[in-house]
């Protein structure tokens, strides 16, 4: 029973990791950008909610909606002002740019909010502590179920958008060949900006989930980035459904590890990550559907 419980709690924890990783997956899938500031943007989202709650005393739901709108706008501007330029100078530049952004965000948060550890758990009321008791040994926490549901909704919603709509097909087209997209009238830069906006807003959702379930501080980002990164790699680079599965596998591994010994939780997750890398370096669901963005520019006459 204790193992079954670990698997169930692991799946719920995995929903949180999947939500955290989704935006990372989008940015890699659409633009081949590995966003090293992803975890910090997630934490920034949590701080926006915290600020709204503590200063303006708005209801939690409203604070989340406002924070998502703010993060959408921030992501859009981030792509147009910083990442779009860096994309023009090769693959390594965006990586360095997001690394710099990570440092900037962390330090800005430190200045603005002090290094104190915060949590939104207290503001969430019953949301954070309610649970369904299934048996005497197993219960389902409301917040965990909600997080998993949001993660599935986000992944399946994006999947349907990309697969079934013409705009989604244009996103995939811009991802596969930006120049060919431009000559058929697709504004690739705007699609990239929309993709980053979406990725940053979903990162904020992950950050808010973190803040509700535990604590956060200005330097919490990099740890979250590692978990998100592992979820993406386990599931397969650029595949959204893969990211969901990867997150859940990571969650299960951590939960099972913690049954053996609480200090093995994170280690067990890392071991699964390494095992997947060693066995199949393209991840479980490979990104064949996304295709690599072919760098073809070059000189043609």
């Amino acid at each position: 029973m204790i193992w079954l419980n670990a698997v169930i709690q692991g799946v719920l924890l995995g929903g949180f990791y999947a939500l955290l990783a989704c935006g990372l997956s989008i940015m890699f899938g659409v633009m081949r950008i590995i966003n090293l500031a992803h975890g910090d943007l997630a934490v920034l989202g949590a701080y926006v909610v915290w600020l709204l709650l503590s200063t303006y005393h708005v209801p939690l739901a409203l604070a989340v909606v406002v924070a998502l709108a703010v993060m959408l706008a921030l992501g859009y501007l981030l792509q147009l002002a910083v990442l779009d330029r860096s994309l023009r100078s090769g693959v390594l530049t965006p990586l360095l740019a997001t690394f710099g952004l990570s440092v900037v965000v962390q330090n800005a948060l430190l200045i603005a909010f002090s290094p104190d550890v915060r949590s939104l758990g207290g503001d969430a009321g019953s949301l954070a502590i309610s649970s369904w008791r299934l048996t005497s040994e197993i219960s389902l926490p409301l917040l965990g179920v909600l997080t998993l549901a949001v993660a599935i909704l986000v992944v399946e919603g994006l999947q349907a958008f990309l697969r079934r709509t013409t705009l989604g097909a244009q996103w995939r087209a811009a991802s596969e060949d930006a120049e060919a997209a431009r000559v058929v009238g697709i504004d690739a830069s705007r699609i990239y900006a929309a993709a980053t906006a979406l990725a940053v807003a979903i990162a904020a959702l992950g950050g808010i989930a973190l803040a509700l379930r535990s604590t956060f501080e200005p330097s919490a980002g990099p740890t979250q980035l590692i978990f998100a990164f592992e979820a993406v790699v386990i599931g397969g680079l650029g595949s959204l459904r893969g990211t969901l599965i990867g997150g859940i596998l990571l969650g299960i591994a951590q939960a099972l590890g913690s049954v053996v010994n609480p200090q093995y939780a994170v280690l067990a997750g890392h071991l699964v990550f390494l095992a997947v890398l060693a066995g199949r370096n393209s991840g479980l669901l490979s990104a064949a559907r996304w295709q690599a963005l072919r760098p073809r520019g070059g000189v043609t006459t």
Binding site: A169, R172, E176, A180, A181, V183, V184, T301
Partner: protein, 235 residues
């Protein structure tokens, strides 16, 4: 297009060339590798920024308008090497290109013009043969109902049957009143289809004439710059 120059870094690929293309006219651009044909086409479409000169479309200066908006004004380019979106189906490749210009072309009309694509419409573009890809690429460019269709290396790497099919479709394009600018390696084809032929050499136009006035011999001499080197030798 007036006095257009373009280059790659220090290399000047197109040197001060001017060209006018009327509605419904077909112009073939020939020349050796590296003559500047593709750079010229890419500059007209807006994916390459010219160093100087102007590009005008129906009297309007479009030189500083980005490529994706130029499509809406009526310029469409079929890039060298087809450049389809390999993970999208044939139909998706066509549908993503639907710009907001009114005209006769839509998915159904393209499938009408290229009947071989009809049964392939749900296949991903990456799995098609070269000829099928070129047909899809031309169809994709036509989706925006262009007033000027630019085609780079139309027959490169295609089977003779596929080339016939592609050239057959040009009749329909012309019938809609679109102007075409074709870069072609196959001189016979180029002379056959074009109202006018322009030969490029080292970034300049070295020969410009009506298609049927030209002999194969004349174009060959211009193509390789024979007349020029004779003149240089004489000095």
């Amino acid at each position: 297009m007036e006095r257009l120059s373009a280059g790659h870094g220090l290399l000047q690929a197109v040197r001060d060339v001017s060209l006018e293309l009327e509605a419904g006219q077909t112009l073939a651009l020939v020349g050796a590798n590296g003559a500047g044909k593709s750079t010229l086409l890419r500059s007209i479409a807006g994916v390459h920024r010219p160093t100087s000169g102007r590009i005008k479309l129906e009297g309007r200066d479009v030189t500083n308008i980005p490529a994706h908006r130029r499509v809406r004004l009526g310029v469409a380019l079929v890039l060298e090497g087809r450049r389809l979106f390999p993970g999208l189906t044939v139909e998706e490749n066509l549908r993503v290109a639907a710009a907001t210009r009114p005209g006769p072309w839509n998915v159904e009309a393209v499938l009408e013009a290229f009947p071989n694509l009809r049964r392939l419409r749900r296949r991903t573009a990456g799995t098609l043969s070269g000829g099928e890809q070129q047909a899809t690429a031309i169809g994709r460019a036509l989706m925006s109902n262009p007033s000027v269709l630019l085609l780079d290396e139309v027959s490169l790497g295609l089977s003779p049957a596929a080339v016939d099919l592609v050239y057959g479709s040009f009749q329909k394009v012309r019938a809609q009143g679109s102007a075409m600018l074709i870069v072609e390696q196959d001189l016979g084809r180029a002379l056959d289809v074009a109202d006018r032929v322009v030969c490029m050499l080292e970034g300049r136009f070295v020969l410009e004439a009506k298609g049927h006035d030209l002999s194969y011999e004349q174009v060959t001499r211009a193509y390789f710059g024979l007349d020029r080197s004779v003149a240089a030798d004489a000095q």
